[in-house]
Structure formats: structure tokens, C-alpha cells
């Protein structure tokens, strides 16, 4: 049995699965249900200035019959009074001492506001705080959330206040709505943060109602941009987490957020450097019970790989996460089609024919026969990706006898040709 316990910047939890700050962690009732279901921790829905929420609040993309492939919300932070939240946090932490209870905070960008609220939060006995610098909608227009996260100087400043007015571990939650996430990450480190979490939601309009011509979700005929999340954003999260992990190594704990619905998603986040993972959309889609398989599946997979602890594989993909110019320019693969497994859908052919390299035949002797024309195949993977049959199309290494060469050293690089002249 693998050991799933985590110690994240001093915050301990029995497993790395936390519920992210959001509707599932808005009050004690939900959080207690989550802990009963087995979640290792929660980040309590953001506490701060009193707000009012609208209806409706959510929108979702269905893709090819799959519901909630992407999700969006225009909900603000907790609309319940700060005192009520803090009292519930105190009671929940007392009842569940082994679980991580982190409180997400967002108050105006003024030192007094932070100075006032931090002692009250710390007094609840919670395990740490997460600074919500990421919310892209509603709060950012008021100079909070992403409006802070997008300005590195503000990130540093508020992080310093948080460290100055409390002894709790501080996690800075980063927004993906920036050109380069390393800038706010560095700013958080400059402010002496204990950890970062990412990604918050991606600023988005999830759709347009073609009858009412209102952007979605619709509030009495009007729509506003919201924050995108769910399975669709996992790739964006992995990239940003990877960028930070590559720069800071294990010196900066990362709580991974974005598109985590299964233990496999979690394992990928951890392999890219996350120490814990946070889930929201998947729980909102299918309830808290999903954590059972997340924990069980991760444990079984770790056992099969010989990983005893989360740290055994955390960040293992980072050394392989390189810049493009360091890829092997001499690596060569071609597609192989297993004719016995082929069901003759022709998708590999038409994808290659219409949009790639005309490297797959359609018919031979009047029969449907999809075969790779090796000399045209560039090894792009497209046919393998569109093939609906598992393992029918595989990519095979071509032994060209050439050694590794990076683009930097590749003689085909025009920069090298100029140098040779």
C-alpha cells in the first residue's frame, strides 16, 4: 500500500486530494460531507468583502455527448458574512484535525484590510491561507483577484503583508490570465510565499445563446465573462505548473489545480511538480464520492510502479520538460497500421490526405486498405490520434543511426549555416 500522506509547506493531509476554493467548500455542511467521503483537505471558499451573487452563475460545454467537458462560472467569493465562515471553519477544523483546512482570502489591496482579517482567520485554527489573486471576473473589476495577480508588484506586496500579519503557511493562488506565469510566481517568491497554487480559472465566454443573442451564462438577457475550468483546462495548467517547477525545483511547493477529475489527472499534475492537487469541477459534476477512486487508483498505480510516497514520483517529468530547441532533431518515427485491427473507418487517411502529408493510401485493388507510405510519413502522430481503435495505429522508431542533436547544434539551423560560412 502506497503512502498517500502529504506535507505541503507544513500543511499535512492524509492524501493529496484537496477540494479547491469554490462552491463545494462554501460552508461547513459541504466540507463535512467532503471529509466523510475521504477528501484530504479543502481550501475554504474565498472569504472577504461582502458580495451578492447573481443567478444564473454557471455554464458548461458538452462535447460529442460528454457533458461538462468545460465549465465556467460568474460566481463571486462567498456571499456569507465573514464571521459565519470563520466560526464554521473553527468548528470543522476541530472535528477533523487530521484534514487540511486552508482558508482562501480576498480583501481589498490595502494593508489595513489584510492586517484586520488575518488574525481573525488564524484564530480559527486553520492550517494555512491561500491568497486569491486569480479570480478573473467580478472581483478583478473591484481591484481584487486577478487584478492583483496580474501585477507582480502587487503580488509581492500583498504576500509580504500576509507573511507579516500571520504565522500561517501562505499559498499564493496564481491566475493563468497572464502572458507568462513566471512573473507573478517570482513576485510571490519575492514576497516570501510558502507555496503557490495554480491555475485559477481562465477568463472566458463559454458560449452564446443563438436565440437570445446573450453570452452564456445568461442573467436576464445579458452575459458577462467568467472563469473557465474543468477537463478542458488541464493542458493549460500542466504547462504553467511545469514552467514554475522547472524554474524553482522543489524549493517552491505547488498545489496543482486545473482539470483534475481522476487519479490519472492527479498523477500527471504531481509528475509535473505538484505536491497536492485541488479539484472543483469534477466534484460539482459527480459529487464527492469520486475521491474514492482517486485515492484507490493512485495508490494502486504507485504500488505497480514501486513508488512508496507521493514524493517518490513528484516532479519526475520535469527533467524531461525541455525547451523545443533541446528536442532531438534526429529522432524519427513512422506510423504503422495494424491491418487486422483496422475497422476501415478511413479517418487516418482523410486526416492525412486533407490536412497533413498524403502519407496514407485509401484503396488498393478496389478494396479499402489504409497503408502508410513511409517516404511521405513525417511521424506527426495525427493518424494515431484520430484512429478510434486502441493500438491499431502505433508509431515505430526508425533506426537511422543518427545521434542526438539539438536544434542549437543542428547543421540545418540557419544560424549554424551562417557561422560555417
Amino acid at each position: 500500500m502506497a503512502d498517500l500522506r502529504t506535507n505541503f509547506a507544513g500543511i499535512k493531509s492524509p492524501n493529496p486530494f484537496w477540494l479547491a476554493s469554490g462552491p463545494p467548500t462554501d460552508k461547513a455542511y459541504n466540507v463535512e460531507r467532503a471529509f466523510e467521503a475521504g477528501w484530504g483537505g479543502v481550501v475554504w471558499k474565498t472569504v472577504g468583502e461582502q458580495v451578492v451573487n447573481v443567478s444564473s452563475r454557471y455554464g458548461a460545454n458538452a462535447y460529442n455527448g460528454t457533458r461538462v467537458a468545460g465549465f465556467t462560472n460568474i460566481e463571486l467569493i462567498s456571499d456569507r458574512p465573514v464571521e459565519v465562515n470563520l466560526e464554521e471553519i473553527r468548528a470543522v477544523k476541530k472535528r477533523w484535525p487530521d484534514r487540511a483546512v486552508v482558508v482562501s482570502l480576498m480583501v481589498p489591496c490595502e494593508e489595513t484590510a489584510w492586517k484586520n482579517i488575518l488574525p481573525a482567520v488564524e484564530d480559527t485554527g486553520c492550517d494555512g491561507i491561500e491568497l486569491n489573486f486569480g479570480c478573473p471576473h467580478g472581483m478583478s473589476e473591484r481591484g481584487m483577484g486577478a487584478a492583483v495577480g496580474q501585477v507582480p508588484e502587487y503580488v509581492t506586496m500583498v504576500t509580504e503583508w500576509a507573511k507579516a500579519y500571520s504565522d500561517m503557511p501562505v499559498i499564493v493562488k496564481l491566475t493563468p490570465n497572464v502572458n507568462d506565469v513566471l512573473y507573478p510566481a517570482r513576485a510571490a517568491v519575492d514576497g516570501k510565499t510558502d507555496a503557490v497554487s495554480l491555475i485559477n480559472t481562465v477568463a472566458s465566454v463559454i458560449g452564446v445563446d443563438l436565440d437570445t443573442m446573450s453570452p452564456l451564462p445568461e442573467v436576464n438577457g445579458k452575459g458577462s465573462h467568467g472563469g473557465y475550468c474543468g477537463p478542458a483546462v488541464k493542458p493549460i495548467a500542466l504547462r504553467m505548473i511545469g514552467d514554475i517547477a522547472r524554474e524553482f525545483g522543489s524549493g517552491l511547493p505547488i498545489s496543482g489545480i486545473g482539470g483534475i477529475a481522476t487519479w490519472r489527472d492527479a498523477a500527471e499534475h504531481i509528475a509535473m511538480g505538484s505536491g497536492t492537487v485541488q479539484v472543483c469541477t469534477a466534484a460539482m459534476h459527480q459529487g464527492f464520492k469520486i475521491v474514492e477512486d482517486m485515492a484507490d487508483g493512485l495508490s494502486n498505480w504507485m504500488d505497480s510502479k514501486g513508488y512508496r510516497t507521493i514524493d517518490d514520483f513528484r516532479g519526475q517529468a520535469i527533467e524531461n520538460y525541455v525547451r523545443w530547441e533541446n528536442l532531438d532533431m534526429n529522432y524519427e518515427i513512422v506510423a504503422r497500421i495494424d491491418q487486422d485491427a483496422c475497422i476501415k473507418c478511413g479517418l487516418c487517411h482523410i486526416a492525412c490526405e486533407d490536412t497533413a502529408h498524403q502519407a496514407i493510401t485509401a484503396r488498393s485493388n478496389g478494396e479499402r486498405r489504409y497503408e502508410v507510405v513511409d517516404k511521405e510519413c513525417v511521424g506527426c502522430n495525427l493518424c494515431m490520434l484520430v484512429c478510434p481503435v486502441e493500438n491499431c495505429i502505433t508509431m515505430e522508431r526508425v533506426d537511422n543511426g543518427k545521434p542526438y542533436v539539438s536544434w542549437i547544434d543542428d547543421p540545418r539551423n540557419p544560424a549554424n549555416q551562417q557561422a560555417a560560412e
Partner: protein, 459 residues
């Protein structure tokens, strides 16, 4: 739950038991007015549509006699483009609604579906086709328009799928068409010959109305070739003639006692049932024997069971693989409680005082590839025997007294690739020509021939 209402009966009594009203009213409703295949609702249609891979050079299209672009119409369902989906179907196949219901999809498009190869569960193409056409018909739109008048007039004999498909295409191409049919209603087998639970409600007539609504088609029912019309007259009065009268004759079983009361061709039984205003008033035997192995035999067997027959035995002279009915149809019959007996051929119809009491069969076997009787016989008691050993072209009306003789071979009108017969200006298609006798093939015949007629007339 269907409750059978049988009067107590003396098991020793030998008199025939043919009676009406064996069931509760609800049972007739359930048996004949609800679809055998439950139609898809919007949600199920979208899920099913999402299973289609949108194949390139899709095998299902190749398997469809009318070459409907199946991946295209399914994609359009998934994008909520129902009008586009329906037109993808109706453009190549004006009977797309009927074909969605009656096509043996498990031997055509769905058998070819790559999902069948992958996971033995093809995309439900037939049900999706029905979804698209049903939704479209609900709009009441007439999507087809007619070309400028050509001044040509064409006679079509037979208002079944072949005849109406041809007539519709000719009307679209700008010609004037007169469609004759011997029966009182148009629709052919869709109206008279197919099991009620496959085309519930008055779908067949609604479809005919939709087809005729294009204009330029005059329907003349109750006009039979050889009686009210002659081929010579039609050739004289019209620019072209399309023969699509199907196979109106039934093949005799060729066993003694076929004239006993209680013995009748299955097609007559089905036609009577399809036209019955009140099924509860339709008499049916307590014990039924159906002879034959095609879809007509299956349809007759199931419908007699659903009318309240207690024991229905279908007897076929060869094995299950040789039956004309698909595996799916055979299973459906068995699920409905029809007993299928293979390897036996009828020897004689047994009766008392001119009334059927049973059918005597002889076991059969293959000897050197040839079917032969074993000499052992058995009798299946029966109040009604429905014979379905094949239909034939009634040849006399197209031959008698004609100036030139139409080339007929093996009981079918001989045609070339595009419906040309041996007579100039005379074309033929559907069940009266050689082929697989499928509705969808008849529709294709009508369409292809209409184009040929148009080409020929425009020279």
C-alpha cells in the same frame, strides 16, 4: 399486460375455432399501434449520433442501395441541423421515412457500420434516419421544387415505392405524371403488405401525401393494368411508361387441400389486417400455421399472434440460414411466441367438411445439395393456414393482346441497367424486375429509371 380471453373449449372437439375479439382493447393498441422499434428521443438521438465516426469512404453508404450519405446526415443530427439531415436522406431516397422503418438495416448499412466490426454494436442508423425524417415531417415543409415544365407525360403503373419514387423524381424534373394503381389506396406494400407495427398510425398514407404534394402527379387508383388499362394504350397516350406493379400474384403451395376454408395467402391476411377499421372485429384462428420463410411469413405469424392466436407455428422447408427473413426478424418472431419449425414441407391441408383442421408436413433433409422428403410426416393442428411461399408477377396484363411482347424471364420483366425493357419507351423497376425485393431497392429503381426516362425524352 396482454390478457387472453379464451372461451373454455372441449379439447376433444374438432371444429375449427376462428373468432374475432380474442383480446382486450388495449392489447390491440399495444400490438398494432406502437412501434416495434422504439423511436429515439432527442437525447438518445444525440448520444447515438455521437457514436458515428464520420468515416471517410464510409462502408454504410456503399451498403445503402440508395447511397444515402449516412455520416453526413448523422453529423447534421448531432449539430441540430434536422432539415439538413432530412434532406440528405430524402434527396436520394424520397421514401427515407418508410425505409427507416422497414429496411433490413442489419443486413445493409448497419451490418457495414465500422462500429459493428469494432464492438458488434453498429450505430443505430435506421433509428437515426427515422428521427431526422420524423422531426422534419412534423414541420410540414415541402422541400422539393419542380423544374420548368417539359411538356412530357409519363404513365406509371403501380403506386408503390418504385412507382412513386419514379413519379416524384419525374415531377421534380418537370414532367407530368399519371400514376395508376389497382388498389384503392396508393402506397403499395407500405400500405398493404408490411406489418402494422413497422409503420404505425397512418404513416404510409402521410408519406404518400408528402410525395404527391410536389405537384404534377395525378393519382388514379382502382385502375388495373389488363382490366382498365392496356400497355398499348399507355404507350400510345404517354411519352413513356414505367411499370412498377410489383408481384400481385401469390405462388401456390402445391399441396392438396389448398382450397379448404381457413387456408389463405399470408399477403391477403396482412392486407385485410392493415385495412381493418377495427382489429377486434377481425377473425383469427386459435391455432395458426404459417408456411414460408420470408418476411411475409414472419409478419403474418407475429400479427396473427398479436391478434390473439394461441399457437402460431411457422414451418419452413429448409434451415434458419436459408430463410429469407433476417436473423433479426426470426428472433423477433420467436420473442413474440411464434414457434419456428425448420426442415419440413407441406404435404397436404387436412380438413373436415371443407374446413381446415391441420396441415400435414413431411420432414426434409439435404441429400447431395438437393432438398428431399424423408418420408416421415407429422400433422400440426390448425384453424388457419397462411401461405407465404412467394409472390409472382401477374404476366397476362402486360402480354395479352399486345402488339409487341414484353420480354419476361423467370417471372420477372427483363430490364437493362437503367430500367429499359425490351419495348421502346417502356421501363420497369421494383419487385416486378429481378432483384432483392427490398423497398429501398424499389425506391432506387424508380429514381434511376426516372433519370433515364428524363435523359431519353430530352434526347
Amino acid at each position: 399486460m396482454v390478457k387472453l380471453r379464451f372461451a373454455q373449449r372441449d379439447p376433444m372437439a374438432e371444429q375449427s375455432d376462428i373468432a374475432a375479439g380474442r383480446l382486450d382493447k388495449a392489447a390491440y393498441e399495444q400490438g398494432f399501434s406502437s412501434d416495434a422499434k422504439v423511436p429515439l428521443d432527442q437525447r438518445r438521438a444525440l448520444i447515438e449520433a455521437s457514436r458515428c465516426y464520420f468515416c471517410y469512404d464510409a462502408p454504410c453508404v456503399e451498403a445503402c442501395p440508395t447511397s444515402i450519405d449516412i455520416p453526413s446526415f448523422i453529423r447534421k443530427i448531432s449539430t441540430h441541423n434536422i432539415r439538413g439531415a432530412a434532406l440528405d436522406i430524402l434527396e436520394p431516397n424520397i421514401f427515407g421515412g418508410a425505409c427507416a422503418r422497414v429496411c433490413p438495416v442489419e443486413e445493409l448499412c448497419e451490418e457495414a457500420c465500422v462500429r459493428d466490426a469494432q464492438e458488434t454494436k453498429p450505430v443505430a442508423i435506421g433509428l437515426l434516419q427515422r428521427f431526422a425524417t420524423d422531426r422534419f415531417f412534423e414541420t410540414g415543409e415541402q422541400p422539393f421544387t419542380r423544374a420548368a415544365p417539359s411538356g412530357k407525360r409519363i404513365a406509371v403503373v403501380g403506386a408503390g415505392p418504385a412507382g412513386l419514387s419514379c413519379a416524384h423524381r419525374l415531377a421534380r424534373l418537370g414532367h407530368e405524371v399519371v400514376v395508376y394503381d389497382a388498389r384503392d389506396k396508393a402506397g403499395g406494400l407500405n400500405e398493404y403488405g408490411i406489418a402494422a407495427y413497422k409503420v404505425v398510425g397512418d404513416f404510409a398514407q402521410k408519406e404518400v401525401d408528402f410525395i404527391l404534394a410536389i405537384g404534377g402527379i395525378t393519382l388514379e387508383t382502382g385502375k388495373a393494368l389488363g382490366k382498365d388499362l392496356s400497355l398499348d394504350d399507355l404507350r400510345r397516350d404517354f411519352d413513356a411508361v414505367f411499370l412498377a406493379m410489383g408481384q400481385a400474384g401469390v405462388r401456390a403451395v402445391g399441396a392438396g387441400g389448398e382450397d379448404l376454408t381457413g387456408v389463405e395467402p399470408a399477403v391477403d391476411f396482412i392486407a385485410r389486417l392493415r385495412q381493418a377499421p377495427d382489429l377486434a372485429a377481425l377473425p383469427v384462428g386459435r391455432r395458426i400455421v404459417v408456411i414460408g420463410g420470408g418476411n411475409t411469413a414472419i409478419d403474418a405469424a407475429i400479427q396473427s399472434k398479436r391478434l390473439g392466436a394461441e399457437d402460431v407455428t411457422l414451418v419452413y422447408r429448409r434451415g434458419p440460414d436459408e430463410m429469407g427473413a433476417t436473423d433479426h426478424e426470426q428472433e423477433f418472431a420467436q420473442t413474440e411466441g411464434v414457434k419456428i419449425k425448420h426442415w419440413a414441407k407441406p404435404v397436404r391441408f387436412v380438413g373436415d367438411n371443407g374446413v381446415l383442421s391441420g396441415v400435414e408436413f413431411e420432414y426434409t433433409q439435404l441429400a447431395g445439395g438437393k432438398l428431399e422428403g424423408t418420408g416421415d410426416t407429422f400433422v400440426v393442428p390448425a384453424d388457419m393456414a397462411l401461405t407465404a411461399v412467394g409472390q409472382v408477377l401477374v404476366e397476362d396484363p402486360v402480354k395479352d393482346g399486345a402488339k409487341e411482347t414484353l420480354n419476361i424471364s423467370g417471372g420477372r420483366i427483363v430490364i437493362g441497367e437503367q430500367g429499359h425493357t425490351s419495348l421502346k419507351g417502356v421501363y420497369a423497376g421494383g419487385d416486378c424486375v429481378e432483384g432483392n425485393d427490398l423497398t429501398v431497392q424499389a425506391v432506387e429503381d424508380g429514381k434511376v429509371t426516372a433519370r433515364a426516362i428524363d435523359d431519353d425524352l430530352r434526347g
